[in-house]
Amino acid sequence: MALLLLLAAAAGAAVVLTRSPPRQVFAMAANGLILAVLFEILQAPDVALAEIVIGAVALPLMFLVILASSRMDRAPRRPDTER
């Protein structure tokens, strides 16, 4: 239990200290899995199920798709200041 709590603290720190967004997505998925195990040890299986599904599937997917969208070639737009 104490080990898992410290691991959760380390995983949270890893998410923050990973500055590059594509790598941060993997840190977030790992954070979600560690938190899910912690919630299971804290006798909360409902919450652990929800955290696995959302923290390891839904959120990383959304982040990856938005990162891909922001890197695509789009028609060049003039910034508002040059009008």
């Binding site: 959760a8 998410v15 967004p21 804290l42 006798q43 959120l59 938005i66």
Partner: protein, 118 residues
């Protein structure tokens, strides 16, 4: 061990806020927001915990066995799902910002009025 969950929750809040304050990329900032949310989940679930108690599901155990608090678990459950949806809204806002201004760096995005003066 008696105060470790409270300390871990405070640590996660502090490091998440530090990440949000010093972030250079809006997507990174939204990831740090998820760390702050995790701090609240750990705090709530640890507040409802009891040693040598079962989960509040009485399928294999007789009703009346000592179990942990189900109210905080219900709170955290709805919190996780709603947090994911609000994160989606924030990501959509960040994408629209990128489409308009071409950058997601917080320091490069000054208010328009300041640029029009110069």
């Amino acid at each position: 061990m008696n105060a470790l969950p409270w300390a871990v929750s405070a640590w996660l809040l502090a490091i998440g806020l530090y990440g949000m304050v010093t972030s250079r990329h809006f997507i990174h900032l939204i990831g740090c927001l998820s760390v702050v949310q995790a701090a609240t989940y750990v705090l709530l679930l640890a507040a409802g915990f009891k040693w040598d108690a079962i989960a509040p599901i009485f399928y294999s155990f007789a009703p009346g066995t000592p179990a942990v608090d189900p109210v905080v678990q219900a709170l955290v459950l709805t919190d996780i799902v709603v947090g994911a949806t609000v994160t989606a809204l924030l990501l959509a806002l960040a994408l629209e910002l990128h489409k308009r201004r071409g950058t997601l760096d917080a320091d490069d995005l000054r208010p328009l009025t300041r640029e029009r003066k110069g």
